[in-house]
Amino acid sequence: MSATFRYRFLAVLLFCFCLLPFLNCNTRPVGFDLIGSIPEEESIELPPDTIDSYAKFIPLSTAPYLLLGKDNQYESRILLKFALKDSALDSVTAVHLILYPQGSYPQKFLCYPCSTDWSGSGVTWRMTDSLNQWVNPGGDYWHLLLCEGSLVKDSTVLQLNRDYLPTLVRHSYGIILLPVDTGFTTIVSLEKTSSSPRIVFSYLNGKKRTYYPTEDTHIVDSTNLGIYPEEILVGSSVAFRTYIHFSLESIPPAATVTRAELKFKPLTVYRREDTIRLGVHRLTESYRTKGKYARFAPTAAGITRYVPLDTDTVVHLEITSLVQEWVSRPDSSPNYGLLLTAEPEWLKPFRIKIFRSGPNSPKLKISYLYPPEDRFSR
């Protein structure tokens, strides 16, 4: 038996044994019953102790599309802002507005120059930015009709009234598109550079200059709705938000929450989305003292989506981590309640009704475990 043979034999033997811990690691319950006492899982279904709802106009500039249209419940207008150059306007022979619709619905619209400045990050149906209001809700504009047209498939090219060009360039803050007919369509926003809206100036010398929007958004109104104040709603475009609070005092602080699920059966009132997406956010301030101005975590604690094909759709939102935080760290994460919203809220308009009470009302089902015992106590 040579020394080399012996050492190699040992090396292989050691190598094979070292591999043992890495092999065949299944998770079958072998030997688990040797643990004497296992904390049992308990479940509880809580009804909300407070539920409330409010509506809020929200900026929609983060939406990846621009919505234009109206019906008996909603109206959506489009605002576009361009950095047009105030030079050689006399040599401009034609001005064209080019839009790229996403749908095939032939929506008629009117185009006016805006008379009040607005900010894309804060503009809503009521507000020009986060601080100032429109004089006329829905946008202030010069009653100078730049163009009138209809969105057609692929692209729409409209010639703007050249007579109002100086006003458009020098005294306006972009343009506003107002829907004429009932129905909705969308156009591509500035996010997609290749097909974003644009204005093209044609000059006497044959040259052309293209302007792309510096800001764009759509603003949505739902003020014509006959909503009862006690109605509990969740919706998008005009944000309908529902505040729900559950008392968690019955859950022991040391418990491990294995599953917490908010469930309810909503009634779809209105929708322009095939799939409804909902999110639930943790409130970081007390709704009881601050009302609709109470802040909430921007990231949803739970998200769900469903297609409301029938009336039996039960919505489930899993919020295990959030409930665990509330239960085990009530000092650093106080339970101010939940805010149920559309997720995201710039989705095309939809509105669902949530029942305050009864079998379809929201319930929070919590499954939890008590802490385990050590090896000497179990």
Binding site: L34, G36, P371
Partner: protein
């Protein structure tokens, strides 16, 4: 060449076999959640190959008949365990250092002894059945109870040796209770236990020369009752709660006896017995419900080739603890094999392989496990001539 091919083949199997899940599951025994865990034997390959007779191993401070050499041992354990219960099989494994010991002789036929040894192992890894539709427990236990020891051995008349060793007990275990749902891990509670205590181990051995049937050596190792303090901390979801608690554990004494003889010529026979009368073990004054158990082993060492002793052993015994729901003891039988590979001008590499068969009754039916272990001990032995010059006698 054949070994290179074998290594290559093993790698290929691991990487290409479609149903083989490769992930670490470090644990020693499925029975380790019970009591203080598995009693760890001497932890030296030479002893393990002979059935782990404690009294005839370096952990016995009185078993140093040749006290004239500086020696040093370090051991590594690697092994895998397959558990079987109710048509379920599961494999776990562990790689870890096992023990460390050393001795330095003094001119007065005295030897200073130091070492680290593991007394109890508490590594386990268990999965539950589903608690409800989706949730499962996954409990991972880590740690054990160790002792840091220092002592002295004294030889008399070249036939007797007596030794005493002070043991500072320390160690800790950490049990992580994870709760798994279909979406992944939900949370984890952690239970930590820190152990401390002191004890003094006493050892004795005697060599009885016999001209006709060879030499007989007898050894005794006595561990007096051990008082352990265990401090428990609970971390609920990462937050230390107020559930800190101290336990006072009293473990009765342990006696180990051993005998080795070369009456069969070149074959040395080793016999070992361990007694653990632990039915009186208490925690905070209450009985723990442990058993009085004993363990015996027999081993044979034979030099098939010069400087290549072949060792084999057999052992059997019961665990001191049992399942709460079943009064039947956990039985353990072991087959041990080993050899030594001499290392020139250094000492030897001792190798031992063990197959342990354990069986216990639980509320869910019998649980059996087969543990395969490889123990490697790098053993340094000072060369007599060098030491003579150093000490000058």
């Amino acid at each position: 060449m054949i070994f290179n091919k074998l290594l290559h083949f093993t790698f290929c199997i691991l990487l290409t076999f479609p149903n083989l899940k490769v992930c670490p599951t470090f644990a020693q025994s499925f029975f380790n959640p019970l009591g203080l865990g598995e009693v760890v034997g001497p932890g030296f390959a030479r002893s393990n190959a002979l059935g782990s007779p404690s009294a005839l191993s370096p952990i016995n401070p009185g078993f140093f008949l040749n006290l004239s050499k500086t020696n040093f041992n370090i051991s590594l354990l690697t092994g895998g365990t397959i558990g079987r219960q109710s048509n379920n099989n599961r494999a776990i494994g562990a790689v870890r250092p096992l023990s460390l010991s050393g001795g330095v002789p003094l001119p007065t036929r005295t030897k200073i002894l130091v070492g680290i040894e593991q007394r109890f192992g508490q590594d386990f890894n268990l999965w539950s059945e589903s608690l409800s539709n989706t949730t499962r427990y996954h409990i991972i236990g880590r740690g054990g109870i160790y002792s840091l020891n220092a002592g002295v051995a004294q030889s008399f008349l070249s036939r007797y040796c007596i030794g005493a060793q002070f043991h500072q007990i320390w160690g800790g275990s950490k049990e992580e209770w994870q709760f798994h749902s279909g979406d992944g891990s939900i949370g984890a509670d952690t239970i930590e236990v820190l152990y401390s205590g002191t004890t003094t181990r006493i050892g004795l051995s005697v060599s009885l020369p016999h001209s006709e049937v060879g030499t007989l050596q007898l050894a005794l190792c006595y561990d007096p009752p051990l008082n352990l303090t265990a401090r428990r901390f609970k971390h609920i979801h990462g937050v230390v709660t107020d559930s800190i608690r101290s336990y006072s554990i009293k473990l009765p004494h342990t006696v180990a006896l051993g005998a080795v003889t070369d009456a069969l010529g070149e074959a040395r026979i080793n016999l070992g017995v361990e007694l653990r009368p632990w039915s009186g073990a208490k925690i905070d004054g209450k009985e723990l419900g442990y058993r009085n158990v004993w363990r015996w082993c027999i081993g044979i060492e034979y030099e098939l080739l010069p400087n290549h002793p072949l060792r084999a052993g057999y052992s059997m015994g019961n665990w001191y603890c049992e399942s709460k729901f079943s009064p039947k003891p956990i039985s353990e039988k072991g087959v041990h094999l080993g050899t030594s590979v001499p290392i020139t001008n250094f000492g030897a590499l001792d190798v031992a392989g063990e197959l342990l068969f354990r069986k216990g009754a639980t509320s869910a039916g019998p649980l059996g496990e087969t543990a395969a272990r490889l123990i490697l001990t790098l053993s340094y032995q000072e060369i007599w001539a060098k030491r003579t010059r150093r000490w000058g006698y």
